[in-house]
């Protein structure tokens, strides 16, 4: 401290010696960030590292695990479970496309055509969230029940013949088939598509539609050239919010599917909670994470909307 007092005052002579310039909380942001970030580091980032290390361990539950850099676990996991990986991507992709196709008209309806019904429809989109999604997914068992009205109608219209031929359904059944799983996934993640779509559609100035019409655009052209491009941020975040959870989901495959529709989530869950083969489960989970991150990064780059958060 002595050296400090001996040093000449660094401030300009006009500054009053008794009142040093205020330092307006340069540390404040760090204090604000600290608890939350610490939480995320300890309970989100650190577990990822633990998981990565678990995936290269060998051993057994009884004798304990050791890090042996046994990368073969990854190879074994991939060769054994690639059908489930593929299925996850296919089912989640199909559900995402369906969500977009079904969700867009609904979002458009709320944004531009609902008038005074807008709030009511919004509530009806959000309110089902409050009935546990497991209960709602179970309801699909009733809706798609063998011999029920839905299956009956599809049968009469010979839709099931086509879908069976495509391998989406099996005979007279919808339950326990890929169609049922995709239907459940679509249903479960549809609001995650509708809400971001609505947000970006709602921001579009209604006069743009009039301007496009004024400049000789048919309604369909207006949609293609004006509305849809402007809703791209919503499309991008909606597809991500649908695809990511759908790819990791195992609830729909478990409740509405069969052993032939098992997705990668089912495998991870079984390995972790029933088989207790931690290295394999960790490796699978790690592969899923990496695959999704790669896809998301690529997709965001391609669609040019980097600022999603």
């Amino acid at each position: 401290m002595a050296t400090l007092t001996e040093a000449p005052p660094p401030l300009s002579p006009t500054a009053p010696a008794t009142k040093p310039p205020r330092k307006r909380g340069r540390l404040t942001p760090y204090w604000l960030l600290l608890p939350g970030l610490l939480w995320l580091v300890v309970f989100f980032a650190l577990p990822m590292i633990y998981q990565a290390s678990t995936s290269v361990q060998t051993g057994s539950l009884e004798q304990g695990y050791k890090v042996t850099w046994h990368l073969a676990t990854y190879w074994d996991a991939l060769t054994e479970y690639w059908p489930q990986f593929l299925r996850s991507v296919l089912y989640a992709g199909a559900a995402t496309v369906l969500c977009l196709v079904l969700g867009y008209p609904l979002a458009y309806l709320i944004a531009f055509r609902a008038g005074r019904w807008r709030n009511l429809i919004m509530i009806l989109v959000i309110a089902p969230f409050f009935t546990s999604f497991l209960i709602r997914t179970l309801a699909w068992k009733t809706i798609l029940a063998d011999g029920g009205p839905v299956v009956g109608a599809l049968n009469t219209l010979h839709v099931l013949d086509v879908t069976s031929w495509l391998g989406w359904t099996a005979g007279d059944r919808v339950l326990a088939t890929p169609l049922a799983v995709v239907c459940g996934l679509t249903y479960n993640f549809l609001p995650f598509m509708v809400l971001p779509l609505y947000t970006s559609l709602e921001r579009i100035d209604g006069r743009l539609h009039e301007a496009a019409g004024d400049l000789y655009a048919k309604p369909s052209t207006t949609f293609r050239r004006v509305t849809f491009p402007l809703s791209m941020p919503g499309v991008v975040s909606g597809t991500l919010l649908t695809f990511i959870p759908a790819a990791g989901d195992y609830v729909n495959a478990e409740l509405l599917g069969s052993t032939d529709t098992r997705m990668i989530g089912n495998v991870i869950q079984t390995q972790f909670l029933r088989v207790l083969d931690y290295p394999t489960a960790a490796a699978l989970s790690f592969i899923l994470m990496a695959a999704i991150l790669l896809m998301v990064t690529f997709y965001i780059r391609r669609s040019g909307t980097e600022d999603l958060v």
Binding site: S12, T14, A15, P16, K19, P20, P21, R24
Partner: protein, 383 residues
Amino acid sequence: MKTNDSGSGDVRLTGISKTYGAFTAVHPLDLTVPQGSFFALLGASGCGKTTTLRMIAGLEEPSSGTVHLGDQDVTALPPYKRPVNTVFQSYALFPHLDIFENVAFGLRRRGIKSVKKQVEDMLELVQLGEQARKKPHQLSGGQQQRVAVARALINHPKVLLLDEPLGALDLKLRRQMQLELKRIQTEVGITFVHVTHDQEEAMTMADTVAVMNGGRVEQLGSPADLYENPHTTFVANFLGTSNLIEAEVDSRSGDDIVLKAGGGKLVLPEARCSAPTTTGGKVLVGVRPEKITLTHADDAGEIPEGRNRITGKIADSSFIGVSTQYVIDSSVCPDFEVYAQNIDRDARLVPGADVVLHWSPGHTFGLDAAQDIDAGIQEEAAV
């Protein structure tokens, strides 16, 4: 936080400056705003006028220098401890509070319990007594502006700072509010420091105007002084319009300087020249468009002796009611502007006509030729 507790209530800025990294928003600046005056900081956006204002308010920490209010050094005081209030750009009325609570905000924070009477009186002063229980978004722009003034004035600050307070209003309302603010200032006698980019607004309202450019004060003075006697090309062009001609110092005669421009000679009173004049050196000669008389070339003989003259051809004319504005193509300046009162209109003065422009030498001003001749023109056009 009483008003005028000491003899002098001047705002005194000493060597005050502000830098953001490598960018200097305000160069070291000395400025004194006399107590009770209506002071305007005028300049284009980014000239440092708002930063200067915010340093007085305490919302910006000066990089060097001090701020004094009267005898008190307030440099180290946070905004909530300074006897200074601000009318913010776009008002910053609290959207969650009604008009009454917005106006009462400052009093309540200072622990004053019975605010009702004061707030009602203040709302009466700005003619908003009826609106007390409305929310800000339910008021019109002009009403919001008055709430912002009331919310600041109720605290009897030593200085009221106004940051582009009329910027969001349409032209007619702006004129009305200019007079209104002037009236209030005269009534309460508080020092007003007003930041604006609108030179007309500054000249209408302020006793003293400081013209700022690039983080520096270019010139300070009364509106008439700045207008008639600009010291830089920026001031000459930013306040109203000036015709600037490059000229060469030829000789001296008494208190006047004789200059060569184009083929002719121009006379400039030495007292009205802010640049050094050495024979053979360059000077910018300026004259305001309304000081010039236009005479048709055929009548050139009738022009009295002793006036500065330039010949040219009318390139364009536009009739705007009180006056007609001509653009003259002359040898010394490609677009000379002339405003002629519509008293006796000469029918021969149409585009294409040859004319003589002449004015009294006393209306000529001289500027340093080392400056950019067009400084301040773009800025005003952008506004």
